[in-house]
Amino acid sequence: MAELVTGVAPLLDPTTWLYVALGVGLGILFGALPGFTATMGLAILTPLTFWVQPDQAFAMLFGLLCAAIFSGGIPAILINTPGTPASIATTWDGYPLAQQGQAGLALGINALGAFCGQMLSIAVLALAAFPLAAFALRFGPSEYFALAIFGISMMVSISSRSLLKGLLMGALGLAVSMVGLDPIVGYPRFTFGTPAFLDGISFIPVMVGLFGVAEVLVQMYATTPHSIKGPVRIERVLPSRAELRGLAGHAVLGSAIGTGVGIIPGAGGDIGSIIAWGQSRRLSRLRDRFGKGSLAGLTASCTAANAAIGGAMVTMLTLGIPGDSASAVLIGALLIHGLQPGPLLFRDHPDMVAHIVVLLAMASLVTMLFGLIGARPLARILQIRDQILWGLILIVCVLGSYALNQSVTDVWVMLLAGLAGFVLRKAEFPMGPLVLALILGPMAESNLRRALVLSQGDLSILVTRPLTVIFLLLTALSLLVPVVSSWRGRAKAV
């Protein structure tokens, strides 16, 4: 509780509010434009935040995350196209409402629902994270190794239809993470005589290349530039008191489901919002309205989509396991500011954890205000032409990858990663496991070797410590479930 009290400090600093607002502004742009994602925005913004204080950096990053998930609902409502995967279910009632001339009200409910979902899940984060992290402090090297492998396996299992391709990307990420000095004895590996590689390949340029440049190249390949023409009419934005009273239950239900689903690694806002929409429909007296412009359906889906943010943060901050690609990028952002997500973060930097909780709440509040006050101008974001953004994103990727170490080698690494990402994505290889393995690789290797030193080379240490066994069993389960589901699917089809 003392940490939470010190964490309130950012609330009193106007500069922090400004950084939150900046992050929210960027997040709205990345979330509202179909094809541009929260992950892409976070990947591009992360290296730029190196030059500001950690508080301010996280203010921008969490502002971007909260706003991007919220604003994914804007195109879902206005043009029936989800801006982010989390807002798929928002199209089901949001777009019919817009067609019925209630676009403004739908946008207003989206903003209020986002706030409600985010705040309730942040409350869960504040209450659950410290006890969970205290438990995780019992981990030794073998548990950390198993945890890193579990994290990568979760990302593999959710990222691709092909398990083999996900695993290959994970292995490739581990291979790239080994470039540089070996983490135990400092022996140079795979540097090919290049001094710039002695410190290893920084994950930031790789991340920027894979999620920024590669995404732009994929869009250039797949689509002809387009934009939405013509103004969108926005009428009443705020729901009436009676409407709010009727929607409160659906908001709480959506928030609870979204938070719960978000805590499960691999399951994010997309799954949470679909489940919440279904449950809300099941419990509603007006279930026939669902899918035809139901305010309750819209409320449940958008609160759940946004509640998954706080849920995912619980797992990411306490165990260091990301629930999705955006969380993987956030782990990278924390690392460049000297913070290793996981139980030690809570022991060594409890004040920073408290700051993160408060910053998330600030981001959520600013997002709602932007969403309500700016509903009319926000609708115009959809009119920005793709080419303008492509050019802007490419140059920011170049400068962002240079900014961290002021190294031109990093810019080459970014361009090569972008090109490799484009080629691999064309063959349907997922990028998430690559980036996560690159981040968690040193943790996995150093802890495996430490565990073996402790056990004098006896591999049975991996099967005799209960928590290690649990994580390794969960790893096996996370990899087997998609295979079994695929077999069952094929068997049914036959």
Binding site: L168, G391, W412, Q456, G457
Partner: protein, 146 residues
């Protein structure tokens, strides 16, 4: 470009990468059974890459799954655009240490926007405006020498 079984090609490529990793790691200090050396983990990862790569190639061949990697001809505007953009970015990085930010960035942005199909007047305005904003943010706000 014709049909190419991308999975077989990528599977073999990853298997070759795994073999290269194994070969290179064999030259690292071996360590002892109680204290694994710097080559221990790379060997594991190399073997994993090799096995998974061969698994992907074999599985794809067995299923006869041939996916069309390029669904556009080489001369397609999208391909030309992508190749030109990559070439422009590579050129930009090449001249990085010889030409100052203010001089190398507007031409890149102008050409980039032209290639992306933006009208030349708008490209010119965007190139100058974006350079100004970026210089202000990176050099003014972050005190970063570009």
């Amino acid at each position: 470009m014709g049909q190419l079984n991308a999975d077989v090609a990528f599977g073999l490529l990853f298997a070759a990468l795994g073999v290269a990793l194994l070969g290179h790691s064999a030259g690292f200090p071996p360590g002892t059974p109680g204290v694994p050396g710097p080559g221990f983990f790379p060997m594991l990862v190399g073997a994993l890459l090799c096995l998974l790569g061969l698994g992907l190639a074999a599985g794809s061949r067995r299923n006869g799954a041939a996916i069309q990697y390029w669904d556009k001809p080489w001369g397609d505007p999208a391909i030309v655009r992508i190749v030109t953009v990559i070439a422009l970015l590579a050129l930009y990085i090449l001249v990085w240490e010889r030409v100052g930010f203010i001089w190398r960035t507007p031409p890149l942005l102008f050409l980039l926007y032209l290639v992306l199909g933006v009208h030349w007047i708008r490209s010119l305005i965007l190139a100058v405006a974006v350079t100004g904003v970026l210089a202000g943010v990176f050099q003014g706000l972050f005190s970063l020498r570009l």
